[in-house]
């Protein structure tokens, strides 16, 4: 035994044994994939600024410009205040779906293969990606919260906390949606084109820009099957609950199913369940990917 130890006098390389797969190992994979997304987000300051630009345009330019047309209908609540939750969801949505593009990006630049050949559970990689994108998108939403005061939304800790949680739920669901789409797409151009096809309809049909009350039937139906609707509404309820002036009847939030008002918790549950479902589909699709 002793002879074995002193056998190599020149140099003994540090010997590594790769352990068998375990839950702890899976968690390390989730963590490091998540960390990588965070490192890349922090490095890319330009992306953070650009991702803020579009929501800010909607909030301050569209919101201010249209204000003069709708003073009668807002019932004491500024249009920008009304738009704020919608614009938060927009910031989260854009960032979350853009983050999912990193899967396609990794494939194009080869890094995906490094992950695919490792002795790890593919679900751990997908979960890391989803949590990474969700964190990045939530941070982006938090940056938008800075502008709350400028549009008459109070900086109440309870309100801000509620909004952050709701944004995080939305961010996870949307990143999972993006990853689910991204795992089988090979070029970043196709992904971006597909993204555009998803993003704009989802945004316009979510109630982010207008109240969901008194719409024609076809539009009511489309807004009710849009997952984003169930994330915008809770955020708007939270914001309106913290305003001094009560909003007019036409602006009052609330999604209804055949006349039944859906409670906030159920709305959020819808978003969570959709997120989990899309994560599971993404994992299955990723397992078949090469």
């Amino acid at each position: 035994m002793v002879a074995d130890v002193v056998r190599d006098t020149e140099r003994v390389p540090a010997k590594v044994t790769v352990p068998a797969r375990s839950l702890r190992g899976d968690l390390r994979v989730v963590k490091v994939v998540w960390q990588r997304e965070m490192i890349r987000f922090a490095r890319d300051r330009m992306r953070i600024v650009v991702a803020l630009l579009q929501p800010l345009l909607f909030l301050f330019v569209l919101g201010t410009g249209l204000s003069s047309m709708v003073p009668a209908g807002t019932g004491g609540v500024g249009l920008r205040t009304f738009l704020f939750p919608g614009v938060l969801s927009m910031a989260v949505m854009f960032t979350a779906l853009f983050s999912a593009a990193s899967v396609v990006w990794d494939r194009e630049f080869g890094f995906l293969r490094e992950m695919l050949v490792a002795p790890v559970r593919r679900g751990a990689i997908v979960l890391g990606k989803c949590l990474g994108g969700a964190s990045v998108a939530t941070v982006q939403g938090v940056l938008m919260l800075v502008f709350a005061g400028a549009v008459g939304v109070p900086y109440s800790p309870v309100l801000l906390g509620t909004l952050v949680v709701e944004m995080a739920v939305l961010a996870f669901a949307l990143t999972a949606l993006g990853v689910m789409v991204a795992v089988r797409i090979r070029s970043i151009q196709s992904f971006m084109a597909l993204n555009q096809m998803i993003v704009m309809p989802m945004f316009f049909l979510s109630g982010a820009l207008f109240p969901l009350i008194g719409l024609p039937h076809w539009l009511t139906l489309l807004t009710r099957i849009n997952p984003l609707t169930y994330a915008v509404d809770p955020m708007r309820r939270a914001v309106f609950a913290h305003l001094d002036t009560a909003p007019g009847q036409t602006l009052r939030p609330g999604v209804t199913w055949w006349g039944w008002p859906v409670p906030t918790m159920l709305e959020l549950l819808v978003v969570v369940l959709l997120g989990v479902a899309m994560f599971l589909i993404a994992t299955v699709r990723f397992q078949k990917a090469d």
Partner: protein
């Protein structure tokens, strides 16, 4: 050890639709060997390496790597192998160190060994000083070296190098080979590599030549070259016609003038040269003995040069594509 084979392959076969990429190959790789898979592009090298790395399912046949079946025990195989692909698989937005750390976490390496092991592999490929630099600032050669370092990080029993030097300049290629040489000295590792550069195959302990999905021959470079036989000798003399005549009379060798030198083939050229000086009788100004190259070996076994083989592989692929299009 009773069984020293680290890789054993039996009847390995892969078909993609109509195309038979690998048509049943058998071979064994011994522990500690540098084993080269040599063949033209499209011969089935990459498909074979992908089957051994568990990335592609064989259509038939079996392969065991580090004692585990590549189909039934995929994760066990993966834990025991390191991979360096033709195409880059680094994250350019991370530093070299961060790339290594990512790899260590993926492979569940014990945290305590990581700093020492990272340093070791980075020093081996000469990147320790550049460890904090973003990979996007690296040259092509540095990236390939980092990939090799990363492939080694988890102390794999087998390192697979798929065309490790493709696309690199000659100087960098030489450097990569010196790392591979160093590696086999320092680490307890088996190296399986593919190449279509004849000169690079010479670095291997044993070479398998693959052509058109079949294993043509498998042996040491020396034995392969010896089987081809004769060396080519070129001499510059003061009187070429006299030298040619004397070679025929005294040694029974047919010589001719090529490229301004008297050229002939003889077995064991190096040992023949002293004899030549002693007995030719014509003053010799310069001698050049060329050993047979692996190019000659490939030619002898397949009846064509590697260049011809690559051209015909491309044609075949084009033909198949045309046929598929025509059918539609």
């Amino acid at each position: 050890m009773p069984d020293a084979a680290v890789i054993s392959v039996a009847g390995l076969y892969k078909r993609y639709g109509e195309i038979e990429a690998v048509r049943g190959v058998d071979f064994e790789v011994t522990a500690g060997e540098v084993f080269g898979f040599l063949g033209p592009n499209g011969a089935g090298k990459s498909t074979t390496i992908k089957m051994l790395c568990t990335l592609v399912h064989p259509s038939a046949g079996t392969a065991r790597v580090a004692g585990h079946d590549v189909v039934r025990a995929r994760d066990e195989v993966r834990r025991n192998i390191g991979l360096v692909f033709q195409d880059p698989t680094l994250d350019e937005y991370l530093s070299a160190e961060q790339n290594l750390r990512f790899h260590a976490e993926l492979y569940g390496m014990p945290k305590a060994v990581l700093p020492a092991r990272s340093r070791e592999v980075l020093e081996m490929v000469g990147l320790w000083d550049r460890r904090a630099g973003l990979v996007s600032t690296y040259s092509g050669g540095m990236k390939r070296r980092l990939e090799i370092a990363r492939g080694l990080l988890h102390s794999p029993r087998v390192l697979f190098l798929d065309e490790p030097t493709v696309g690199l300049d000659p100087q960098t290629r030489t450097t990569i080979w010196s790392y591979i040489e160093q590696l086999r000295r320092l680490e307890d590792i088996t190296i399986f590599l593919t190449t279509h550069y004849m000169d690079e195959a010479e670095h291997c302990d044993r070479i398998a030549i693959i052509d058109d999905g079949r294993l043509v021959v498998l042996d040491t470079p020396e034995a392969l070259k010896a089987a081809v036989g004769k060396d080519r000798v070129q001499i510059q003399t003061d009187d070429d016609p006299a030298a040619i005549a004397r070679l025929r009379e005294r040694f029974g060798l047919e010589a001719a003038v090529h490229d301004g030198a008297v050229t002939f083939s003889v077995a064991g050229g190096e040992r023949f040269v002293p004899e030549l000086f002693a007995e030719l009788g014509v003053p010799i100004r310069a001698v050049n003995v060329a050993r047979p190259t692996l190019d000659d070996v490939f030619l002898a076994h397949t009846g064509r040069t590697i260049r011809d083989a690559e051209a015909s592989a491309t044609d075949r692929m084009r033909g198949t594509l045309m046929a598929m299009r025509g059918r539609r």
